[in-house]
Amino acid sequence: MSSTTNSPTHHTSTIGAIGAPSRRNTELALLVFAVVIPVFAYANVGLAINDEVPTGLLGYGLGLGLLAGVGHLVVRKFAPYADPLMLPLATLLNGLGLVVIWRLDQSQRLQLSSTYIEASPRQLLNSALGVALFIAVLVFLKDHRVLQRYTYISMAAAMVLLLLPLVPGLGADETFGAKIWISIPGLGTIQPGEFAKIIIAVFFAGYLMVKRDALALASRRFMGLYLPRGRDLGPILVVWAMSILILVFETDLGSSLLFFGMFVIMLYVATERTSWIVFGLLMSAVGAVGVASFEPHVQQRVQAWLDPMKEYELSKQGIIGHSEQSMEALWAFGSGGTLGTGLGQGNSDLIGFAANSDFILATFGEELGLAGVMAILLLYGLIVERGIRTALAARDPFGKLLSVGLSGAFALQVFVVAGGVLGLIPLTGMTLPFVAYGGSSVIANWALIGILLRISDTARRPAPMPAANPDAEMTQVVRP
């Protein structure tokens, strides 16, 4: 990070490294690990559960290898200077997720459930679709600044996507608390919020890039804080209201937090005004407390978080609306201990419904232990920090804002879902990126990585060689 600061001279150092290594071979080497580790884990599960190497090992290994290989070749061709870590990290998480989903598919306990479906083949297909979208992004999005043109279209699209689950006949039943799914006949259910996350980041980036000066400069100082002008408060109020609406009408705590958090992060980065953070936190607090005071779904989540044991008892007594999953997840983590039971040897399937999606981290916790969960969390941490590194390296404000928005949203999502399962914060129904079962999540997150790679490729790409001028000294090129 030290190679880049905000002073213009240092910007040149990023460009000036003409002929900088593309790091594509590093990526390839890391990808080998990212494929081999899940393959071993897959064999491990088979040996633990059925005492034999699973028959699907070859197909699965080839499948994951193929996805990684194609992804790598496309990056090599279309984004040669892109960050070398993100593709291997995403591949590794996706691979491990597939292994654990397959492991939970083998659970007799879950097979008895009426909602059981064999999830791993679908997840492999989802991953393939995700990588396809990743490739499409890299191939067709030659320059991320193109997205700037679609600022307001993005806003409209995001709104539509977020509101879709509320459309009667389209929205899936509110079976599990939150109204965040839509069902399309023949395609299954989709969580449009996952895609909205990316599209809304494009809108925020485009909007803030234009308005940042107005938001940052036109303000009065009061008690050490820059107070924005009333009319500049408009956008943040609109986004805040939208988050509240999502919370109230879709009862989706996670998405609400995610969108608002992302906006505050981007607003802060765009304006460099700490006061926005203060306003953001204040408004979050007002919104959260306000909604919690009348929305029973939210109240119940908070109660379950404060006393998971009581929630468990209530659920065991058969009282509708309560779930024993939180307590089961805590037991799974505790029973895993430091090193875990080993893949395939735990009882995390006691969590029952959503063991392979919202609660998948608990299976990692029980079977790979503290060590495994810390490794997974650090992998996420690395993706986020590489994303922010991309934002630092980006030379255009739109790219900076978009990459920090996407990375921040990714970080918030990991925090919200992992924190919820670990009992650090109230549980919200969200999926752990790449790992959890769920088509929308995997596909959208691959697209997210694609966009980050595109921005980082643009940022790290050496400037074109200036025309040779024998009369002048070599000059450094400073790009805007």
């Binding site: 306990r109 802060y268 980065v269 037991w331 029973s335 650090l378 924190g419 009992g423």
Partner: protein, 486 residues
């Protein structure tokens, strides 16, 4: 824009750090508490993951395990003659948990006991499956059968002890239940259990250990012991100074006797025909404090008697003079478990020395290596050897010529005491029939002491007496023990 970007990077780092700290808290600090939480189903899954070790009586297993088709629990507990053995083993049910020996010795039975750690580690390395160890009990199958069949369809309990060691030979309680009927996880198992729990006859109550009754006249043995130990009676054949009827102290209530000549009766005669007046008077003379002291020496007022299953506390209360006089004949607030009265009888038979009752002789690993052996332990010297001899002489007279004649065994000296304890408001309910006794062989050793209580609602009130209902059961239990030693 880079300064806020760095701060955002730091902020995201803090988010990840918070998750890491929380995870360490859960999976390191709280891990053990969560892992061993009894509500955590993994605990019972582990319990039934391998065939459970057995509880052994006379070298034979009285329990077993069968494989099940369930996904959670691989094996299920079974019992051989569960109704008879339930008061000894308790139950081990997948749906409601475990009690008594099945619960207390769970570590050995599942093979998870810390003392098996080294062996388990070795087994893991050599690839052998973990197996449960066995619990060897002191019980005598023939005595248990005699007790259980003797009680038959009557309500009651039997406790038999080896006076020399304290080893429990029989522990029966009726009506009983078959723990096999709810050992599984199905809703049918749950319903069976609920039905048993709600049954007004309380089949799941272990009456031998966990129920206290007014001991009635059998308690007169304790009062006699207190009188002899405290010098309130000189000899067992010297007349006492007792009016008939006897007016309770500080009271206008006249205590009478059911039968016999009790005026100034000797201690031996008073016990033989069970004179209320004599023993109430003696209890008053000894005084509440000394009576409590004597009762305590026999094991009363001990709330922590574990054999290893905890027995209910038998009580001889602190009370005023008239109540204390009544307590001395086993009425008023005196309460005793059948086990407690067997201990009284056993202490007398063992020359005054009360051994701590126990029913687990050995704990064994799955390969039959002994892990722990119980050493007989003295609980107290209840009475002096001399007093014990006198009490024996009196109790033997009771069986030879008195109310306990039905307990006689040819060729064996039997000492005993009957009791018919009244209870209920104004003694309106049908009384409990008691009998406590011991058998003595020709070499002077005593292999068994027993206490029987029958709470029979179906019998005619006048027919309920310790000598009639309870003594034959005691005789059969003692005979079974003596026969099995031959």
């Amino acid at each position: 824009m880079n300064k806020p970007l760095r701060r955002i990077a730091l902020f995201c780092g803090i988010l990840v750090l918070a998750l890491l700290i929380r995870d360490n808290w859960l999976q390191y600090v709280k891990a053990d508490a969560l892992r061993t939480d009894t509500k955590n189903r993994r605990v019972s899954i582990e319990r039934y993951a391998t065939p459970r070790g057995d509880i052994i009586v006379d070298g034979k297993a009285i329990t077993g395990s069968v494989a099940t088709k369930g996904t959670d629990y691989k094996y299920k507990r079974t019992w051989k003659n569960g109704e008879m053995w339930a008061p000894v083993t308790g139950y081990s049910s997948q749906i409601v948990g475990a009690t008594q020996l099945e619960n207390l010795e769970d570590g050995i039975l599942t093979g998870n006991d810390d003392r098996l750690f080294f062996r388990n580690t070795l087994d893991m390395i050599t690839g052998k499956k973990k197996e449960g160890g066995s619990v060897v009990t002191t019980l005598n199958a023939a005595a248990q059968k005699a007790a259980f069949e003797g009680l038959g369809n009557k309500k009651g309990a039997v406790a038999a002890i080896d006076p020399a060691t304290g080893g429990i030979l029989a522990l029966a309680s009726t009506p009983s239940y078959d723990p096999s009927t709810f050992a599984g996880i199905s809703s049918k198992d749950g319903e069976t259990f609920t039905k048993l729990e709600k049954d007004k006859d309380k089949p799941m109550l272990n009456r031998a250990l966990r129920e206290t009754y007014p001991p009635g006249s059998t308690f007169k043995v304790v009062t006699a012991a207190a009188a002899l130990e405290n010098g309130k009676a000189n000899g067992i054949d010297e007349p006492t100074d007792t009016p008939d009827p006897y007016r309770l102290p500080q009271s206008t209530y006249d205590l009478t006797n059911e039968h016999g000549a009790c005026k100034n009766a000797t201690l031996r005669d008073a016990l033989e025909v069970s004179c209320n007046t004599v023993f109430a008077n003696l209890s008053d003379q000894v005084g509440n404090e000394k009576m409590i002291e004597q009762a305590d020496k026999f094991g009363f007022n001990d709330s922590k008697l574990d054999i290893p299953v905890r027995a209910a506390e038998s009580v001889y209360p602190k009370d005023n003079r008239p109540q204390n006089a009544l307590s001395g004949i086993g009425q008023a607030s005196t309460r005793a478990t059948p086990l407690q009265m067997a201990m009284v009888s056993a202490a007398v038979a063992n020359d005054g020395k009360l051994m701590k009752p126990y029913m687990v002789d050995q704990l064994r690993a799955s390969n039959l290596d002994t892990i722990e052996t119980h050493e007989p332990e003295e609980l107290s010297q209840a009475v002096s050897g001399d007093t014990a001899q006198k009490l024996q002489a009196m109790m033997e007279t009771v069986v030879k010529t008195g109310t306990g004649a039905k307990a006689q065994i040819p060729g064996v000296t039997v000492g005993g005491k009957t009791g018919t304890a009244q209870h209920g408001l104004k003694n309106s309910e049908k009384p409990y029939a008691w009998f406590i006794s011991y058998a003595k062989l020709s070499d002077g050793s005593s292999p068994v002491a027993v206490a029987v209580v029958v709470e029979d609602g179906s019998a005619n009130r006048d027919d309920i007496s310790g000598g009639g209902l309870a003594a034959p059961i005691a005789r059969n239990v003692m005979k079974a023990v003596i026969d099995s030693k031959k």
